[in-house]
Subunit: 344 residues, 2 copies
Amino acid sequence: MANEREVTIYDIARELNISATTVSRGLQDHPTISKKTKKKIFDLAERLGYRSNHFARSLRNQKTNTFGIIVPRLNSHFMSSVIAGIENAANEQGFSLLIAQSSESSEKEASSVRTMFDSRVDGLLVSLAVDTTDLSHFEHFFKKNIPVIFFDRVMQHENSVNILIDNRQAAYNATRHLIEQGCRRIMHITAPTLQNVYKDRLKGYKEALGEHKIKFREDYVVITNLSQEAGAEVANTILKMKTLPDGIFVSNDSCAVGCMLALKEQGIRIPEDIAFVGFNNDPVTKVIEPHLTTINYSGYEMGQVAARHLINHVRDVSFVSSTNTIILRSELMVRASSLKQGRK
Amino acid sequence: MANEREVTIYDIARELNISATTVSRGLQDHPTISKKTKKKIFDLAERLGYRSNHFARSLRNQKTNTFGIIVPRLNSHFMSSVIAGIENAANEQGFSLLIAQSSESSEKEASSVRTMFDSRVDGLLVSLAVDTTDLSHFEHFFKKNIPVIFFDRVMQHENSVNILIDNRQAAYNATRHLIEQGCRRIMHITAPTLQNVYKDRLKGYKEALGEHKIKFREDYVVITNLSQEAGAEVANTILKMKTLPDGIFVSNDSCAVGCMLALKEQGIRIPEDIAFVGFNNDPVTKVIEPHLTTINYSGYEMGQVAARHLINHVRDVSFVSSTNTIILRSELMVRASSLKQGRK
DNA sequence: TTGTAGGCGTTATCAT
DNA sequence: ATGATAACGCCTACAA
């Protein structure tokens, strides 16, 4: 039952009557070690089941080959896609991933940042909690010049890189599309506009309205947590309005779906009575009837880009990103939920 | 631009004119250190921004306070729920998580196991790749008595604990439900039966058929990768059959949904022509029309249970799990997709 | 081509 | 109540 002792380079050295240095070098395929010696080392290492001790190595090298990931929630289609993308790119290059979720709490986010710092991650990949309003809890990282990359939910900081889509433009496109379909009373369901993503989407929404001389109405903007349940609740509010809206742009698909389902249940026809546009291109958009028009952008790609960028940063000390912000492509996917005019 | 040097306990010791030992003890709230000294230590540590070095500590203690997670895919609703559950339970107890996905490849699984071993994780939480047929790649862990916990996709091993639901029973219930609805030609769409989950579900399916004197037909079992696309492909196969099935039990919701959508498009009525039961209670089940009957079990809970079990194992050396297998609850959620008789 | 020595930051042991 | 020392496993500057 007792644990076997670790097999170390010293064990190999002793058995082979050489020094630990030689073993260390041999294992790293160092050019100054003879082929013969290397072979002996590798063979014995294999036979003894030797495995390099990541911690000893990290301690010595001041490099951990590990990145930290902090996201608001792990269990959304978008976030898990991002993480899958990160994992793919990082693993390919031999980096491990330490992971934590902030559960949308700035406080928990800060505590995870501390843990990651203690773990001496080589870099951080972060999507901010909805209530995070400043980056002071990342100061330790900035001070030590450990790269921090924000994706999707970002904040500007001179020492960090942001990876995201053009939320303003996407929201503008979404809203203009609704207007082109003949909508004039267009609501916007979104999250607290502390975060760039929601602030920019609101901006794009307003811009499209303004451009078409549609008056912006404060009461047409509903702030929620964007859950499916929240969508259903908003539906109730809507049903109580004197005049129904004729179009809704929602900042997230599952919330849109929750709202659509609840409205349909009350006999509202989509898109005839109310047209819908969501955000994220969650698989559920192609399941709901009618299929939900949405903004498509790849979380997987965003994860890969973020990870690769971080790897460059870490690998090449002199690496300086030419820009502070990387904008990924997004596109409007037009589906039945917004096609008032029946054309396809 | 150069990194600041690490702040160590020596820096604190020097400034306070005490020994590093005392600082170390003070930081750990050791009882033999005076209140006054402790306060001085904490204050200075705070002021200097001291952060304990996880690696040095791990190296010294032979404990990392880190668990490894290896799952087939990160981006499914079920898996991300499990991981969220693990994160919740682990973080609560101060454990970090190293994460990797096998992408359903036994080979990549093995490589991740190696990485985790090198990182000296204190324990492993694993859901096996679909093509994993033996546990030889975990031998290093077993030999060193590092706990390995399998969940959902498990294999028996004397040195490990399995956490899962009673797949046979769940499949039996699902199939019997279809039979009770009057179905007689019941198909089963599932994944390769190398894995316990699919083997057991097939068993339960057969058992229910047998009990109701319905002959088992080999050609009614379709092996796929259970993706939504695969579901659509199976739909095509079905449409070519001389006699259509009148019920289908699918091993996973998204595949069921893919199949339903494709069939509906061809004018097949659900549940009148073909009744459906899925598996997992993915949110999409309540979006598709008609809503999909499914087997509900909580990934979040499974993750929590797995993590807590692992923590007990690690915390208490003498901890011996009374059983080798933990069965969690699952239940049939009856929805419209399987209600031929229109009763609700 | 190989070896020696010292140190990365922490903590347990044994003193004082 | 506090300190000196060694050790965890590895790597690198320097030496041979």
